[in-house]
Amino acid sequence: MSEVYKSMSISNPHPPFEDGVQKAMAAIAGIGLLILILATIGVESISTPLNLALSIGLMSIGTIGFAYRAFRIKPAGIKNNGVWFSSAMSRGVIGWIAGIVITGFYIVLYWYEGLLGLGASGAANTGLVGFFDPLAMAIKGTPASQWFVYGTLYTVAILIFGVRFIWRYRHNRYQVIRTLSVMGFQLFFAYLIPEILESLNGEYATKWFDKDMKNMWPLDYDMFDAWHINNMSSTGILGWGFLIFSLLMIFVVSPFLTYKYGKRWYCSWVCGCGGLAETAGDSFRHLSDKSMNAWKIERWMIHSILVFVTIMTIAVVYGYLGDGSQYYITRTMFTMIVVAVLVIVGGAFYYFMNKRKDAKKDLQKIIMGIAAVIAVILLINFLTGSGNAFFIDNYTFKKWYGFLIGAAFSGVVGVGFYPLMGSRVWCRFGCPMAAILGIQQKLFSRFRITTNGSQCISCGNCSTYCEMGIDVRSYAQKGQNIVRASCVGCGVCAAVCPRGVLKLENGATDVFEKTIDIRNNHVQMDTI
């Protein structure tokens, strides 16, 4: 029998709608969306506060109602029936259309905001942005921008799909609590508090954190830009407090939490990108590529981007620092600090890699090499008195990073490709924050996924539903714990495993040897 089964999954399409109520709910959400579209294309008479409430309300009621019928009224348990038969969820026609539409929306959002009705140079907003003016006025007393519209829709999406996710996994308290957490962090720390602060405090407050209080460098890649630093350092104790808090987050709090719980504390409990992926992206998690090749590409990409963002940040700060008259630190001090940090990071890497009994030593050299090269180039430029940190104009990096990574990757591809490459494309291939947390997770975290003795039946559910494309089964069937830099600790592999093989947990006693045991080696070498 040759491989005819490849096409088997599409031979019996599951009916897309279960019952009349679900059809009605889909229609209600559709009407809500239609109102939004009509407002976007500029139908004046639609653009009223009432209709805005109606539009968001109908979309929410429709989606939540649909999810209620799909999950809440059915017995609790894993609900993956028909996933690969659904056109939307298996890169069928609907999936491709959705991918193209979302990608298109992001392109417009980032580069053609005029199409969304943003008033140019002080003119009143029209279209979609104008439609949201009343809400913006109510929350912060100024008209909307395309980012306000985006933030609102983003938050609404996390909330309604969060409800869906909670119903879907309601038998699993880890999933329920984690989802409440991402919903809360999005609603308060990335939406309401920043918007309200802006209204209370004028332009400064929000400029401390770029609209999302819980982002830190390098996800918030312009955290160390001059305007950012200026805003923080010129707004008294609060601004300074926030600057110090940000630095502590990067260098102390985050490594500590990652040591305690793995990168999941951020990636699947706090982060907004992760939040959207886990909620609105949940239906697409199985579309991530599990192949060895994908893993190779992933490692190269994400770590290159981390190097890129590091270089860019150093260049930007180097660029605006002078002799110390404007800022507390001078270019000389900064250069020394950066070199010191690079040496410490390289040294820490060396130390932990040596301690880990199963680490690949070639990686050790690569990382130390990169840190050394950055330090040396920076020093050469500094010593020759160059105004540029890395030979090239300091802002060139920034321009390219902002365009390629900040917008094109994290936004357009990151969300637009949900229906094509799974919900965590950005988190897996692009996010420099994920890269740092991943390295920490791999080097010194207590976190791992334990495999339960020999119980694995190699079925493949865990690998299939891993949104990060980790071939969980390849470890589970050996009986080896899973410690992968990319694992965001979503816990879905453990949830879908039909044999109870996987458990996410933390333990301090075996941090450097947690993957040594291969529990399924049945014949013990010492008996030979």
């Binding site: 993956n80 028909g82 079925c459 453990a494 109870g500 947990e505």
Partner: protein, 446 residues
């Protein structure tokens, strides 16, 4: 040395992988079912749309070439043990120095009238699944005969596509030949709650022909009820797939008889997995154990023996697991439907009726003998260590949290369990201590 393995299931593939780890021999794996190894246990998930066929392959396709394991898609029709030659269906012959038979099982048929009609299958291989897929189109009802682990999976498959299911189950309560009464009743309730028409105490009398050679109804023996349907699934157990070798000079009882080195009566021929029958099974074990884990262990043991290490097959302490629709099941140690005379069973069931813990101990010395779990996950290594060391049941209960393997934040029930157990016997169990992974690790190391 040319080593030929017939069968690319978990047993044959485990042998091939371990042979490659241990040696540089030529390895050929022959199968007429699929080009590559896939996970048989995942058949249901393909049908239900959880996974595609390619997702059930535990190794990427490049793996075989990289590890120099030759794959042949053909059917072996004859073996000559004298000349050490295999005859293949497509006409080739193949020489071996060592032969490993990893032939798996076939679905049982007990001579029911109509059992060979169209629209009647078992659920064992990809070919079965392909037929079931084809018969599902517009199917009004499926009848499933036999209530074991595969029967309930087949029922769940149709259920997932909203195809009505009737199950004929011989036992008075679901799988009660294996499960103790309370667990069996729990699963019975769960099946009924899911809207499956479960007919207990019902044997199949015959399958009715619609005149065109297709099954159109199943008739129950006891009640004479006729259930109209468009498909009948036969899942009354499996037996070793060895019929074609019966006349070949191989010693066969139910399965191919092997000694503790997994050698058959023919020299340089081994048999492993579902198709093998231990000549002298270890105490408490059966001769044929058709499960995934034993296949994997035999496969590995066989590779060591082929490579000249002298290793007796020892499957260790019994464990198994399954899932009945939404209820997970795990067992460690000796848990029989009716406990042995000197074993005492303690049973706790959650008020929702879908979780339970059963613990058995020996009344003579209070040592632990088994764990049976429904809807709660236990840690394999911890249970195994307790069982191996014949730990006192009081110590087990006092440390019960060490065994918990449920996801984080799940409600813990150990206190309640200990209380309930204390009421069921004259041992006074102390409240289980709190636990965490570090305690588990140090317990396992100790």
């Amino acid at each position: 040395m040319n080593i030929v393995i017939i069968g690319n299931g978990i047993s044959g593939i485990s042998t091939a992988r371990w042979l490659r780890k241990l040696s540089d021999h030529n390895i050929t794996v022959i199968s007429s079912e699929s080009d590559h190894f896939y996970s048989r246990t995942a058949l249901m998930y393909i049908y239900m749309g959880h996974m595609r066929y390619q997702d059930t392959k535990p190794y990427e396709d490049y793996f075989w070439e990289k590890n120099r394991i030759d794959l042949v898609n053909d059917h072996v029709e004859g073996v000559n043990y004298e000349t050490k030659t295999l005859t293949l269906k497509k006409g080739n012959t193949l020489q071996y120095d060592k032969l490993v038979l990893a032939l798996g099982s076939k679905s049982n048929k007990f001579g029911w009238p109509g059992q060979d009609l169209n629209k009647v299958t078992g659920l064992y291989n990809l070919q079965d699944l392909e037929k079931i897929e084809a018969y599902s189109d517009g199917l009004n009802r499926a009848v499933i005969v036999g209530g074991g682990l595969i029967g309930i999976e087949l029922a769940e498959m149709f259920h997932s596509r909203h195809i009505p299911v009737t199950m004929f189950v011989r036992e008075k309560s679901f799988w009660d030949a294996v499960l103790p009464q309370e667990e069996s009743q729990m699963i019975t309730r769960h099946i009924l709650k899911n809207g499956i028409d479960l007919r207990l105490g019902t044997n199949l009398k015959e399958i009715v022909d619609d005149g065109k050679g297709n099954a159109c109804a199943a008739i129950a023996l006891e009640s004479g009820d006729k259930v109209d349907c468009g498909y009948v699934g036969l899942t009354a157990g499996v037996s070793p797939n060895v019929d074609w070798l019966k006349e070949s000079g191989l010693k066969i009882n139910r399965g191919i008889i092997v000694n503790d080195k997994l050698e058959t009566n023919q020299s340089d021929v081994y048999a492993i997995g579902d198709c093998a029958e231990q000549a002298n099974p270890l105490p408490g074990r059966r001769g044929v154990e058709a499960i995934w884990y034993t296949g994997r262990m035999m496969g590995e043991t066989c590779a060591y023996n082929i490579c000249g290490h002298d290793i007796s097959y020892n499957p260790g302490i019994w464990f198994n697991s399954a899932k009945f629709i939404d209820i997970e099941y795990q067992v460690y140690g000796e848990v029989l439907a009716k406990p042995k005379e000197h074993h005492k069973a303690l049973y706790w069931e959650h008020e929702d009726g879908e979780k339970s813990v059963r613990i058995l101990y020996d009344i003579n010395d209070e040592s632990i003998v088994g764990f049976n779990l429904m809807g709660i996950r236990f840690r394999h290594e911890v249970c195994e260590k307790w069982l191996r060391e014949k730990t006192n049941v009081k110590e087990v209960i006092a440390n019960l949290t060490l065994a918990n393997f449920d996801p984080e934040f799940y409600k813990k029930h150990e206190e309640e369990i200990a209380k309930s157990f204390s009421n069921q016997c004259d041992l006074n169990f102390s409240t289980p201590k709190k636990s965490n992974l570090d305690r588990v690790l140090s317990f396992l190391k100790a």
